[in-house]
């Protein structure tokens, strides 16, 4: 299967915020993802969909160089953030991860206070000033639509929050360092419908301010929040384009089978 993916994003002249070129990832020599190329247009939401094990998380983690921490993972290709390859030799992965935030499937707050959770990225980034820290923490919590629920217990442990609140806290923690891109790996799959709705509303509010890529197993969710959709199958990008086009009028039969509910 060497044919290139069906590419139906409008061929605008505008450079996407993040452009992925011929991305490949192998774990201990076993190829997990090959020849993936697509772009995340500035301040939009792109949903990554596809059956389990097709490489969605692997692609997402390649974008903020998380594979650097996995000894057996090997990444090839380029990931251009504002036109500059994040894998270029002189680029510091720490800097990349500050500009590209990540939210994981299972809420993973630190066993620290709510305040310290949100302030973590700022502190390791060198911000010491207390008033400024407090201001940035409040900004991030408001951004993540959590401020009203936690403003009176910032010093309490984050582990006392509900699952949905914890996930919004993790989003606030990612937003606190003011990333330009936010990657979300099945951010609602561990949450109940009410909490899911809150997260989706939050993603909708962030649209227009920040470039997002979200892995999801729910086609309904992709329909609700995504501007663009990328469909992956067996480690390859099969189809990519406007959400409605890909989901309603898929060109590739594998995409059609998946969105029609016949696969996955």
């Amino acid at each position: 299967m060497t044919e290139t993916a069906v590419e139906r994003a409008p061929r605008t002249e505008v450079e996407p915020k993040l452009r992925i070129e011929k991305l490949g990832v192998a774990y201990a020599g076993r190829v997990a993802v090959r020849d993936v190329s697509f772009g995340l247009p500035t301040n939009t939401v792109t949903a990554l969909i596809g059956p389990s094990g097709c490489g969605k998380s692997t692609v997402l983690r390649a974008l903020d160089r998380m594979h650097d921490e996995v000894p057996e993972a090997e990444v090839t290709g380029r990931v251009l953030l504002d036109g500059e390859d994040v894998y270029a030799p002189h680029v510091d992965p720490i800097e990349v991860r500050r500009r590209i935030g990540m939210v994981f499937q299972k809420p993973n707050p630190f066993p620290k206070s709510i305040f310290d959770n949100v302030a973590f990225g700022l502190r390791v980034g060198g911000l010491r000033n207390r008033t400024e820290l407090a201001a940035r923490v409040e900004e991030a919590l408001r951004h993540a639509a959590l401020w009203d629920e936690v403003s009176d217990r910032l010093g309490k442990s984050a582990l006392g929050l509900s699952g949905g609140q914890q996930q919004r806290l993790c989003i606030a923690r990612a937003l606190a360092v003011r990333p330009e891109v936010l990657l979300l790996d099945e951010p609602t799959s561990a949450l109940d419908p009410i909490a899911t709705e809150a997260i989706e509303a939050l993603i909708d509010r962030l649209r227009g301010e920040i470039t997002m890529a979200m892995v999801t197993h729910s086609l309904a969710q992709a329909r609700r929040v995504a501007d663009h959709v990328a469909f992956f199958y067996l480690g390859e990008l099969v189809e990519h384009g406007e959400a409605r086009e890909v989901l309603e009028h898929p060109q590739d039969e594998r995409t059609a089978a998946y969105v029609g509910g016949r696969v996955g």
Partner: protein
């Protein structure tokens, strides 16, 4: 109930009876013979030369000092090794994982070495090699460094307790979920920040358990200090790390074998044993409290 079950029930009952009997005999004798001898003077006075009267103050102080020095010398090395094994070695290129395998094998072997062998090692390496070497280098006439003393005994015990600290530290760090590391790295933390601000605080109760277990083990060992610093009878307290010292465990040995009149020494002997046991229980108690805290966090 089948025959097998009945046999099992009888067998278990018998085993239980044996354990209870052994425990109560041990404590019964110790308490019965030791308690009458306990008073304030026992804790603050030096033993007299006959090993019948006096107290155990120098042995208490010596045990505390050697254990303290052992902890200060050994724990940082052990914890650092555990951190390296768990957190850095797997990512240290092709060389790191292989070196880690070697280090783990060495630690496992170290843990299996009988403690008397540590005593001989301490004598050969610390006292004779390092100590005599220092004497030569500093052109001391009579041996100053090259004789048994508090410092060498502490270092020997430190080596003995290294495996406990290394293994518990590595396990405690491995038990920290990767999701927390990813969370930290994901907002731009360095590996060092991740380890010190997230991983270690979370692993701390487990690491402390290992440290307390190591202290308990080191405080009770006699064989390693036999040739490296413990004194049979030395009423003066050490005031230099190169001085010899008295030690609770060694004092028990001396009272039971070296006393001119073993029968007259019995109450003193059992009172000393009582103190030693009380210390061991205390340390075990602290360790199990820490361990249950560590488990609750996991």
């Amino acid at each position: 109930m089948s025959r097998g079950d009945r046999w099992l029930a009888w067998g278990s009952g018998l085993a239980l009876a044996i354990v209870l009997f052994a425990t109560s005999a041990l404590f019964g004798v110790t308490l019965f013979e030791g308690v009458p001898r306990l008073d304030l003077a026992f804790f603050v006075e030096a033993p007299d030369a006959s090993m019948v009267g006096g107290g155990i103050a120098p042995a208490l102080v010596g045990t505390a000092l050697v254990t303290l020095l052992m902890t200060v010398a050994g724990v940082p090395v052990g914890v650092a090794t555990g951190i390296w094994l768990a957190e850095y070695a797997p990512r240290a290129g092709r060389f790191g994982p292989r070196l880690a395998v070697l280090v783990r094998a060495a630690v496992a072997n170290l843990a299996g070495v009988p403690s008397i062998v540590f005593g001989l090692f301490g004598l050969g390496f610390f006292v004779l090699f390092v100590g005599r070497g220092l004497d030569h280098a500093l052109a001391e006439g009579a041996p100053v460094w090259g004789r048994p003393g508090l410092l060498w005994a502490s270092l020997t015990l430190a080596v003995l307790t290294l495996p406990v600290v290394i293994v518990t530290t590595e396990e405690a760090i491995r038990a920290v979920p990767d999701s927390l590391r990813e969370a930290a790295l994901g907002v731009g933390a360095t590996r060092l920040d991740t380890v010190f601000r997230v991983v270690l605080p979370r692993a701390a109760p487990g690491i402390w358990t290992g440290v307390v277990l190591a202290i308990g083990r080191g405080a009770g060992e006699v064989a390693p200090i036999l040739f490296t610093g413990a004194a049979n009878y030395l009423p003066e307290l050490p005031n230099d790390p190169r001085d010899m010292f008295m030690h609770l465990g060694y004092h028990v040995y001396a009272l039971s074998t070296q006393s001119p009149d073993v029968d007259a020494s019995r109450p003193t002997l059992f009172a000393t044993v009582l103190v030693l046991l009380a210390l061991a229980f205390l340390l075990n108690l602290v360790a199990s409290v820490l361990r249950s805290r560590a488990r609750r966090m996991a």
